[in-house]
Amino acid sequence: MLELIDVHARIGDTPILKGVTLTIPKGEVHAIMGPNASGKSTLSKVITGHPDYVVTSGDIRFEGESILELEVEERAHLGIFMSFQHPVEIPGVATSVFLKAAVNAVRTARGEEELDAAGFLRSAKKNMKVVDLPKTLLHRSLNEGFSGGEKKRNEIFQMAMLEPKLAVLDEPDSGLDVDALRIVAEGVNHLRSPERAVMVITHYQRLLEYLIPDKTHVFVDGRIVKTGGPELAHEVENRGYQWVRDELGAAARVGA
């Protein structure tokens, strides 16, 4: 589904990604774990095409085709979704108005018929239940005055509505208490399917207790330095990132 091939990227003059190679087949959930400022959030922005980030070398392929030349919305139309670590507030725009426009933009791009108001509402009500959001949220301005938990759940709700092929979840757990964390994780689990790939970026292993990944990648200094199964997340949690760095250093010395 998603292939990153030796991707180097920078913002301004600062290189952030320093050769990322990663493949996520459909049906799989991959966790990206890494310390703060390791560049893992950049990864999500580079995949979704944020204009501030420049890919200097390497390639990103989605369903076998390079997407580097595509605009942000074109990538979204292909079925790439990102849940934001810090969802943006849009004052005065009702969540329903925004989401209906988004759903229909994506449907139109896929050659599907637009949802009418009733169809949208039916689908919205169903999907809001999954993440335990009240219907009244639809009438509120997008993310404005939402609690931290509501914002995060709203991201997963949007994902459910947009039915992406690839979901990139950028720290969907940050700032959440255990109950909210479980709701978010269950929401994502609900959306796991053999046709869908998920990349979940997280700082802590906590989320991965509820959302068991197929693979775990440890991300340090702009690169994936270690890949394993779900057990790797526990190891990182127990031993810290320094352990991975130390191991890396040792390996480098041995290699030399």
């Binding site: 204009p51 501030d52 919305e73 979204a76 990102m82 725009v93 949007q158």
Partner: protein
């Protein structure tokens, strides 16, 4: 026409011999007293109105064009403007839309204003002003049943001279300001609405103004009077086709609300703003003012201004009656090289008077926009309250937003609040919306619509839809 000719002949005071040209549909450019005489004669006006015009003209001659607005434009040559034009098919005024020149209707269609549909579907009485003479009036009979007068200004002068005489210039005196004086001297036509005591107007009243002939300034005059306890909602919408040369538009609107009366005046203005390099476009120098004459009366101005090259406009309220309420809700958009200096004046004279000002300014391209507002609280206006919220949204880095709030409070028992903000459309907001599949333009338009929501919700439904579309069209090419 013969009647007009006779009047002119009787007066016989035309320097340029316009008498022989009374059948003309268009005056040559130029302005002097004879033009004022000509217009008045053409319209078959009574002597008192001619005198009123002449007084205004003489006052205008002594005045100078205001230079305080924060706008730049080439000085207008008032002698190069035509002051009279009327559509050819005007001999017999149509009583219904069926009788209107199909070409005129087709033009409205092109502008996206399906007039007949609107009138029928929305139940709107429409008084169409095309250039200087009204060409269609509908629903007049229905309104007359409840005693409401809704007709062209010219008709009202003849049919209800006592009302016109009483209220004309009572809110905006003929010599109020440079452009109001010019309008008072040469105004062509416009609308007159009179809602008698206790009557609530059963439908939204609507007028579409459009500028048709090249180089013809349009000087309409609107007067709305609501007697005790009466209610009316009036919609004014404007579009104009592309013009190469700048055109002057100097209108005057006067509103009078007696005790317990409510007047809601909504405008969507979309006149030609000039091309993307700032060539051409209409100069919109308008004086709009209402007086809350009686206790508990209310005047509400809602405007969506997206057109014109240069806008100079301050719809205002004089809150004379105790407990009267003035409101101003405004969205103004300047794109490319458009300039707008707009705002309001709330003059609190009566006790416990309340005013609300919500101004939303959007600047894109090289657009320059100024909010200019005055809140004045008089000595006797004890307990007066004002709330002002003035927000600016910038799109791109070449545009500008400026705020000139004036507050003048002359008693110790008034509350005046002012909130202001300036923000830029955030890259992060755009990225978020685009990531969800919206195009950049749709994303901008969504953010802008959200920004304007507090004003749009004040508009009647069908106008709110039109206003949203208008912003979209006006912002095309503002990003990317």
């Amino acid at each position: 026409m013969d009647e007009a000719r006779e009047i002119v002949a009787e007066r016989g005071e035309y320097k340029y011999g316009f008498v022989s040209n009374i059948e003309m549909d268009k005056l040559p450019p130029g302005l002097d007293e004879s033009v004022v005489h000509f217009i008045s004669a053409k319209k078959g006006e009574p002597q008192w109105l001619l005198d009123w015009r002449l007084k205004a003209f003489r006052a205008w001659q002594k005045m100078t064009e205001p230079e305080w607005p924060h706008v730049k434009y080439e000085r207008i040559d008032y002698q190069s403007i035509c002051y009279w034009a009327s559509p050819k098919s005007n001999a017999d005024k149509p009583q219904s839309l069926d009788e209107v020149d199909p070409e005129i209707l087709a033009t409205f269609e092109k502008l996206g204003i399906p007039l007949h549909e609107r009138a029928a579907l929305a139940g709107v009485a429409v008084d169409v002003v095309l250039d200087s003479t009204s060409v269609a009036t509908t629903f007049k009979a229905k309104l007359a049943e409840v005693g409401i007068i809704f007709m062209s200004f010219g008709e009202a002068v003849n049919e209800h001279p006592e009302l016109i005489k009483k209220y004309l210039g009572s809110v905006v005196p003929a010599s109020d300001n440079y452009f109001a004086a010019l309008n008072s001297a040469v105004f062509s036509d416009g609308s007159f609405v009179f809602v008698p005591k206790g009557v609530k107007c059963p439908m939204e009243l609507s007028t579409y103004f459009r500028i048709n002939e090249a180089n013809t300034g349009q000087f309409e005059r609107t007067l709305i009077v609501c007697e005790e306890g009466a209610h009316v909602s009036y919609l004014e919408g404007c579009t104009a086709p592309i013009r190469k040369e700048s055109q002057l538009h100097a209108a005057v609107v006067e509103l009078v609300a007696l005790e317990d009366a409510t007047i809601k005046y909504s405008t969507v203005q979309n006149w030609y703003p000039g091309d993307k390099d700032g060539n051409g476009g209409i100069f919109n120098f308008v004086t709009k003012r209402g007086i809350c004459e009686g206790a508990r009366s209310r005047i509400s101005w809602t405007q969506v201004e997206t057109g014109s090259a240069v806008t100079w406009k301050y719809p205002s309220c004089i809150l004379k009656g105790d407990d009267s309420v003035g409101e101003f809700y405004s969205v103004a958009l300047t794109n490319n090289y458009q300039q707008a200096d707009t705002g309001t004046k709330m003059i609190h004279l009566g006790k416990n008077t309340t005013s609300t000002i919500i101004s939303k300014g959007i600047s894109a391209g090289h657009g320059q926009q100024s909010y200019r507002g005055l809140v004045q609280v008089g000595k006797k206006a004890l307990g007066a309250r004002n709330y002002t919220q003035c927000d600016s949204l910038l799109i791109g880095s070449e545009c500008g937003a400026h705020t000139f709030p004036y507050v003048d409070v002359r008693n110790g028992q008034a509350t005046v609040e002012h909130e202001a903000s300036t923000s830029r459309i955030g890259e992060d907001q755009l990225f978020y919306l685009r990531q969800r599949g919206l195009s950049e333009e749709d994303a901008v338009s969504m953010i802008v619509n959200g920004f304007c929501k507090d004003v749009f919700k004040e508009l009647p439904m069908e106008f709110a839809v039109e206003a949203r579309k208008l912003l979209e069209v006006s912002l095309e090419g503002a990003v990317g």
